[in-house]
């Protein structure tokens, strides 16, 4: 059973298009995240949601719109894609406030904008 699953694994698209990445976790966690890994492998948080509420938005362009229909899902929609959006996007989840707090990551979505 995959704990954090995101789809698709690969996404190739043209500049200007709109695309979505889906994420689901079956761990019962209350917090979900989106991270971006750039071409130099640096990982930076984009958003975090706790029980469907936005907690962190790290100065991400408003072309990126996360949506959390329930606490097990956090999808990422990207409008008007640009070349600089090419990266690997990771979804993650955690249970905040426990003694064993840690993030579990999905396998990543490699987005290539042409």
């Amino acid at each position: 059973d995959t704990a954090v699953s995101q789809t698709p694994k690969y996404l190739v698209t043209q500049m200007g298009n709109d695309k979505s990445i889906k994420c689901e976790q079956n761990l019962g966690h209350d917090t979900m995240y989106w991270y971006k890994q750039d071409s130099k492998k640096f990982l930076k948080i984009m958003f975090s949601y706790n029980n469907k509420e936005l907690i962190i938005n790290e100065t991400v362009p408003n072309r990126f719109s996360p949506k959390s229909p329930d606490k097990a899902h956090l999808n990422l929609h990207i409008n008007s894609l640009e070349l600089g959006d090419s990266a690997v996007y990771f979804c993650a989840s955690s249970q905040v406030g426990t003694d064993n707090e840690k993030l579990f990551f999905g396998s990543g979505t490699q987005l290539s904008v042409l």
């Binding site: 995240y33 130099k40 707090e101």
Partner: protein
């Protein structure tokens, strides 16, 4: 601002040797967690080891152990009896307790040679 610094962009050792990866961090928080994540070529982010700041005892997980120096804000990872499967990017990460945000270092690319 909280930052994590990994000063070794790349390291390379022979199989069965011991290798230590360095990590320093900057924070004014007193209660936090530190992590090492491994990212093999498969891209999956795998948790290697976790340390709670209030625990003086260094965490160990089989061949992996840490040297946590809270006053020096240092958190190095030691891999003993290194194996070919240890070849990966290794990321040091920091999270204040309850912060819902994991801050990563730049990563160290580790190669284990046969």
């Amino acid at each position: 601002a909280q930052t994590v610094t990994q000063s070794q962009p790349e390291m390379s050792v022979q199989e069965a040797e011991t290798v230590t990866l360095s990590c320093t961090y900057d924070t004014s928080e007193n209660n936090y967690y530190l992590f090492w994540y491994k990212q093999p070529p498969s891209r999956q982010m795998i948790l290697v080891i976790r340390q709670e700041a209030y625990k003086q005892q260094n965490a160990t997980e089989n061949r992996f152990s840490v040297n946590f120096q809270k006053a020096a804000k240092s958190f190095s990872l030691k891999i003993s009896d290194s194996q070919l499967g240890d070849t990966a990017m290794y990321f040091c990460a920091f999270m204040p307790k309850g912060a819902q945000k994991l801050v990563f270092g730049q990563g160290t690319r580790l190669t284990i040679n046969p």
